[in-house]
Symmetry: C2
Subunit: 271 residues, 2 copies
Amino acid sequence: MDPRPIGVFDSGVGGLTVCKAMKDIMPGEHIIYFGDTGRFPYGTRSIETIIRYSREITEYLKSRDVKMIVIACNTSSAAALDVLRRENDIPVLGVIDAGARAACKKAEMAPHGDLIGVIATRATVKSESYVKAVHSISPRIKVLQRHATIFVSLTEEGWIDEEVTRLAAKKYIQDIFDEGVRVLVLGCTHFPLLKKAIKDVYPDIELVDSGIEVAWEAQRILAEKSLENSGGDGGIELYTSDITDSMERLKELFFGNNGTKISKLIIDSRI
Amino acid sequence: MDPRPIGVFDSGVGGLTVCKAMKDIMPGEHIIYFGDTGRFPYGTRSIETIIRYSREITEYLKSRDVKMIVIACNTSSAAALDVLRRENDIPVLGVIDAGARAACKKAEMAPHGDLIGVIATRATVKSESYVKAVHSISPRIKVLQRHATIFVSLTEEGWIDEEVTRLAAKKYIQDIFDEGVRVLVLGCTHFPLLKKAIKDVYPDIELVDSGIEVAWEAQRILAEKSLENSGGDGGIELYTSDITDSMERLKELFFGNNGTKISKLIIDSRI
């Protein structure tokens, strides 16, 4: 039993899908979420800049005495997970490891068991983090990656079930489908909202939601280390570094409409 | 004659289209361009945050002794032009005034002379800056605005001449076309790259490129105030606050491939 909160962060509001999954799985835990909307998106930034931003947020969460940090952002997990693990003595989890593990399990049961597809931002693809994570589990599995940058803005625009979105899905996925991909990792916390559109075009592809997988992993690790808080208040504090008019719309899109308010908090340690 | 440089800034690389137009029109001027790619895009940020970023960049440009500042970003022109004009004693130009003036001229000659359409980012639309700028010239003209957020990422993705882009254009523009819009302001420096795609769908719409218009206005004001530098070196210095892998590709897309290098410069006065 450990009453301390869990810290979750993302470059924006997409990571709220991870918060939602964590709340479903561990209803007693208190969660502090930080979305860096003032500097979103990370997917088009350099690795060096992403590490700087991730460090700043981690420092803030540690100042709030969290018992675990969940990086709910694929781009930041790819760029900063190893650094943050080295520099901190609490468990730091990333969506990529969790997603890769689930994908390997699914691939074993799929018709083309030696092949996993990944769609993500440019920065995540370039980091090859999913490739490395899969190979550390099953070196024989081939990973085919594609960036799907426009999926981020299509999701935020709410163009979830549109012809534009299905056309974009075809442009991004068709060639790896032709190469045999039937297990596809949604390597960006925005993409789970496009599950239906992707399934409309590719009903035979099985989708892996890294956000849900990391929520399960968080529960497993808290249990292993006896850090759970099953009888806690289940409170959730949402902070973002900028609040815009579309924030309420985006919060509902990614988190649902349950009355939880977002507060503004600027984290920026540069002098 | 004034040998001092002209400062140009934008939230990212889109403003390079304005630089390019300025170089064509005023080949002797030395230009210092700053693209805030580390905090791009501004279009989804709050007005308060956009003003803060614009002030920081202006301070930097003034430290470089510029004789004029051109805000090559619609979002920043909408949010910060008035503030920056009040706070600085050199001429500050924004793309919105220039674009509105050109649109009013074109509208007078168009079949529906009492109607102008504007497509821009959410922040620019919400500011109603084009509406106010048009009404200060011709109060009787009706302005119909639509945000076209996804055009930004479609442009940066290089999906310039694609079915996805034409479909998105239809979703954004069809209803204002039906209402009679035949003069349409491209109210974001990214959008001029989509001229062909928009014209494919709407050959009867006349497009106004605010970036080219502000370049002409800069020349006019420099001449009026005897601040030109027609015999100068025509040098151009490009700075951005983050350098990514796709930067070269984006620079070519917006500026052409003429050997000019981009340097990294972080501007961030927050303590």
